[in-house]
């Protein structure tokens, strides 16, 4: 039941959907440690659904998700809980708990899941906040932060238990270009300095070029992965015309039914 160590996440023959409504099938990919791996696709291509299957929020219809050598789909009970703690997740809206301060949000996993003494919890949480540049905002409520700061606070919360893997759902959604670029910088820093593996769902082209080591592209028509590779490669010579169009941000007026 063990995987070769140079692969941190391995997804095999995954079929995801809701009941009889299959959204994606034959999803196969592998992620190496320290890699920034981007899941890409148009609106409605099942990016977020795939992510929710990868992190165990939904059970896939078929297939396996191996994380650090354990199959998350088959894991039950304590084994599953341990596996879930191996990665952190941030959500599109940040999903910070609105009634708690930023520091309390970041401390929460330490409070609930570790037996650390109080002062160390505070120190560890504050250090993570400083790492994402939010030390001075520790006492604020999430509603007092800007969108970019909320995203960074969510990343601090996701990594407070030092997971080796972080899943980010649309980290740059709703951010201005400068803030989004700051966030990209943070992600590459964390990946290079700490060896954290990132699996990022996005359709922000600028950010993909800035951060992605490897990309897979999902498509709602063929319901599977239509392209895989480095972003620059895909832009130049993807086999699929739609993929090239996506990477070059060309309109597809005929297909989308626009009659101007």
């Amino acid at each position: 039941m063990s995987e070769p160590t140079e692969i941190i996440i391995s997804v095999r023959d995954l079929k995801v959907g809701y009941g009889k409504n299959v959204i994606l099938r034959n999803v196969n990919f592998q992620v190496r440690p320290g890699e920034v791996f981007v899941i890409l696709g148009g609106s409605g291509s099942g990016k977020s659904t795939l992510l929710k299957n990868l992190i165990g929020l939904y059970a896939p219809l078929e297939g396996e998700v191996w994380i650090e050598g354990d199959n998350l789909v088959a894991a039950r009970g304590n084994e599953r809980q341990d596996l879930l703690r191996k990665f952190g997740v941030t959500y599109q809206s940040g999903a910070l708990f609105g009634s708690m301060s930023v520091l309390e949000n970041v401390r929460l996993p330490l409070d609930e899941l570790t037996a650390l003494p109080e002062p160390l919890k505070e120190l560890a949480a504050l250090a993570k906040l400083k790492l994402v540049g939010l030390g001075a905002a520790a006492q604020k409520l999430p509603s007092e932060l800007s969108g970019g700061m909320q995203k960074r606070a969510a990343i601090a919360r996701a990594m407070v238990l030092d997971p080796r893997i972080l899943f980010l759902d649309e980290p740059s959604a709703g951010l201005d270009p400068v803030t989004a670029a700051d966030l990209d910088l943070l992600i590459t820093e964390l990946a290079h300095h700490f060896g954290i593996t990132f699996i990022i769902v996005t359709h922000d082209l600028a950010s993909i070029y800035a951060i992605a080591d490897r990309v897979i592209m999902l498509d709602s028509r063929s319901q599977t992965i239509v392209a895989e590779g480095r972003p620059a490669e895909l832009r130049e010579r993807a086999a699929d015309a739609w993929v090239r169009r996506f990477f070059n941000r060309e309109p597809d007026a005929v297909a989308s039914g626009l009659h101007l």
């Binding site: 160390l120 120190l123 400083k130 300095h193």
Partner: protein, 380 residues
Amino acid sequence: MTKITPDELDTDFQFGPDGFARVVFRGRLDARTVATCWDGLERRLRAASLKTLEVDASGLRFCDGAGLALLRYLSMRLMTPEAIVSISGLESGLAQLLRGFTSEDYAAFRPPMRVKCRSLPEEVGSEVRRAAWDLREQIEFLGSVVGKLPPTLLDRRQMRWPEVRRVFELAGANAVPIISLVSILVGLIIAFESAQPLAQFGAQIFVVNMIGLVMVRELGPLLAAILLAGRSGSAFAAEIGTMKVNEELDALQTLGLDPIRFLVVQRITAAILLTPLLTFYATFLGVTGGVLVALGLGFPLPLIFHQLSSTLRLSDIGLGMAKGVVFGAIVSGVGCLRGLQTLQGPSAVGVSTTRAVVTSIVLIIIADAIFSILFYFLTR
């Protein structure tokens, strides 16, 4: 040197003269091992009044955020305030991280220890101000609803009758089962409880008179209104509050539509039409409950009807229905107002629904008291 497994932490203490101590960490320093070694460190180091503390981390194979937090705690002299602390042998990446968070950062980012506490006069003042502001908003709201209700009612296009029908069904038809259950039980319980004391005076038959009067004039309208407040007043506040949070109300306004005409008038109309019906139904079932008890006590049905018809006047039934209309207007109006007053934030809608129910019930009781006084003077 003892052999240790890779998952464990080995902590070694060496004490020298002149308050010197040396701590050697070997193995794995993570959240679990830090938690287990903490007590030992506290006991050995804090007690000994140290002048110099050396921490040797060269034997660490793994150190995570929790481990770094411990090393920071030591190096910031939080455990040994008198001592000069040095940490050696840390792997360069970790050492850089350790330096990345300083005592100054800690002092600057820490939560302030004192809890801000307001004085009593300040508290009272701000509460009074808030209550006065709320009253002002209620009056403004009442004014704008009264002003907008008649023209909207007359304008078929603006009135959106299908919406009224939808609210009527949700707040009325769907409430019938719960109202049935509660009313008939309340009727049964009151009749049953009062039958025993009345029996002492040989006046058991007056259970029927009492339940008739109580239900028609008081409990029927109250039960209907309180259930309406719990089921539908809260729902109005939640619906409109969610729309406010999602900027749907702003969208309505920029489309040139007035939220009061578009959302509030329909709900208030539906509630005003609906509550007398619910009141009548609740009253009928409540009285039925009382009648069942009377039957159980052995009184014949014709006698029961005679008692009822001799006690109840038409004006009593009119009073009950009038209360229904007023209570319906209160519940729906308060529900909509609280929805419109919703602030931003995750708990805002919850706060609005709570306030809707609480304010509705308080106002219902106050209105009921006013009704009682008015009716007393009018029928004297």
